[in-house]
């Protein structure tokens, strides 16, 4: 069997095993309701971080509007279940497609912008989406869309997360993914190598948006409500922080930092006055000590485990 396929299958088997263990622990209540909630939140955050990593980490397009796509997914899927009475799977799919279409429509013109200009444009887009939702009475406006059934279970969140990770991992490890990475590395050279940079930027943006939509759908169907305040630019920053902290262009990095940050946030909620102060200090210190993120652009593998402590020495060649 091919090495790649073998690794995929081991990965999948590992995921299923992990699921079984976690599920078992939840059933016998060793993982209580609070941690159960946070585990679902971790799954959702992983989807968000990994999908933004495709846009920002791998393709190098600086986006701070990810919460906007999440909002589209959250609302659209909620409308499907609450207003139209459609099944949850259809709702999630609709949320993903809606976010993807919007991502495509928005990405096409804006991705011509570069660097900080793109950043502010995407931030603006996220806000435009949110303000638009805020002004649609059909979905509750400022009060949010209420009465959403809790269809999201640990099982849903977990397998959506696994699907996202595998989708993006496989995409990155293909010629299409390499085209995206080449844009990050050197856009001029990428064009000179025949890469249609616009097409791939928009593609990455669209795929990223679609998964953000999935995350949004899971989110609103877990917390009973879709509310504009959940999707501000601060949320986009949170997601970006996960990506950068984990390492731009490292999927395992995004996963690790999504887990870490969600966990820290949950743990700090008992110290409400100090929560944000500690969180912000932690962020600053972590960035100063690991400016390239926890894993840089490398992937964590069992093989690399031993070397990890060695630090971010550039040049230890490592194939991903």
């Amino acid at each position: 069997m091919r090495a790649k396929m073998k690794r995929d299958l081991t990965g999948l088997a590992g995921a299923v095993a992990l699921y079984a263990v976690a599920f078992g622990l939840m059933e016998i209540d060793l993982i209580g309701a609070f941690w159960q909630l946070n585990i679902v939140l971790i799954c959702i955050n992983i989807i968000l971080a990994v999908s933004l990593n495709l846009i920002t980490g791998f393709t190098g397009q600086f986006s701070i509007g990810h919460a906007g796509f999440m909002a589209v997914g959250a609302y659209l899927s909620a409308v499907m279940t609450v207003k139209l009475g459609l099944p949850f799977a259809v709702a999630i799919l609709a949320g993903a497609i809606g976010a993807a279409i919007l991502g495509f429509a928005i990405g096409l013109p804006t991705l011509r912008l570069q660097g900080d200009y793109l950043a502010i444009a995407t931030l603006g887009l996220g806000e435009i989406i949110r303000i638009t939702i805020l002004n649609i009475p059909y979905v509750g406006g400022a009060s949010g869309l209420m009465g959403i059934p809790r269809y999201t279970t640990f099982t849903w969140a977990f397998f959506a997360m696994v699907l996202t990770v595998f989708f993006i991992k496989n995409f990155i490890n293909s010629s299409h993914g390499r085209a995206c990475i080449s844009i990050r590395e050197n856009e001029i050279a990428a064009e000179a190598m025949g890469v249609d940079t616009t097409k791939y930027k928009v593609l990455a943006f669209t795929i990223g948006a679609a998964f953000a939509g999935v995350a949004g759908g899971l989110f609103s169907h877990y917390f009973y409500i879709a509310h504009p305040a959940s999707f501000t630019f601060m949320k986009s920053f949170d997601i970006l922080t996960m990506v950068v902290l984990g390492g731009m262009g490292s999927i395992t990095g995004s996963i690790t930092s999504a887990i870490l940050l969600t966990f820290i946030s949950a743990a700090l909620s008992s110290y409400p006055e100090w929560r944000m102060v500690i969180y912000s200090l932690l962020l600053i210190v972590l960035m100063i000590y690991r400016p390239q993120g926890l894993f840089g652009n490398k992937e964590l593998s069992l093989k690399a485990f031993g070397r990890l402590g060695g630090g971010g020495q550039r040049g230890t060649a490592q194939n991903r």
């Binding site: 091919r2 790649k4 396929m5 995929d8 595998f166 989708f167 496989n170 995409f171 490890n173 293909s174 010629s175 299409h176 993914g177 390499r178 085209a179 990475i181 080449s182 590395e185 050197n186 001029i188 050279a189 990428a190 064009e191 000179a192 190598m193 025949g194 890469v195 249609d196 940079t197 593609l203 652009n297 550039r314 040049g315 060649a317 490592q318 194939n319």
Partner: protein, 255 residues
Amino acid sequence: MALLKIAKLTKEFGGLKAVSNFNMEINRGELIGLIGPNGAGKTTAFNLITGVYEPTSGQMDFDGKSLIGLKPYQVTQRGIARTFQNIRLFADLSVLDNVKIAYHFHVKYGVAESVLRMGRYYPEEDEIEAKALECLKMFKLDDRRDEIARNLPYGEQRRLEIARALAAQPQLLLLDEPAAGMNPQETHELMEMIRWIRDELKLTILLIEHDMSLVMGVCERIYVLDYGSIIAEGTPAEIRSNPQVIEAYLGEEVN
């Protein structure tokens, strides 16, 4: 029929005519040099051909079809690949990945196939890998396949850039000062390699270079550019003794 035919090409920046009334014809299989003083417009000419800049006026036909208005990636897909005066590798990627990207537009499998790892994904990936390795071997870079490009010494980076351009499987290869920063010994090796590539791969090559030993050594025909216009064209021997070229560029006869 000429492979590349350029007529009356002009490019202005503000008021400055970087390239003016530029004419050139290259036939299949030729190895042509483009020389001229600094700032004469050589790199600009490359940028016009490859679609980085849009010409102010003029025509360019490649293989019978106009290049005007094409984006750089479309030009590459038509069969023109280039290297850059200031090296532009994918600096944080491995040597192998640098080359693999160049095969990108020949790939036929779609996004779905790559995500599901089905259909043409595996066969084509294997093929790309094999071809990329073959290409690296040609440039004696195969033992460096996993090295990160930015860690290569300068000379090897130059070679990798040429390898990558070739991996795009072009008909016409444009090299912008491939020997810059190389010592005479390395330049000599490069010269051999350029000749070998042309013969082995049946390529057409147009190169810019200031190192006269290389230009005079490999080029069959040379164009001389000054202040944006062609001031001379001919065989190395003709160019070497052209008084206008000596005056503007060479300074004295080169042997």
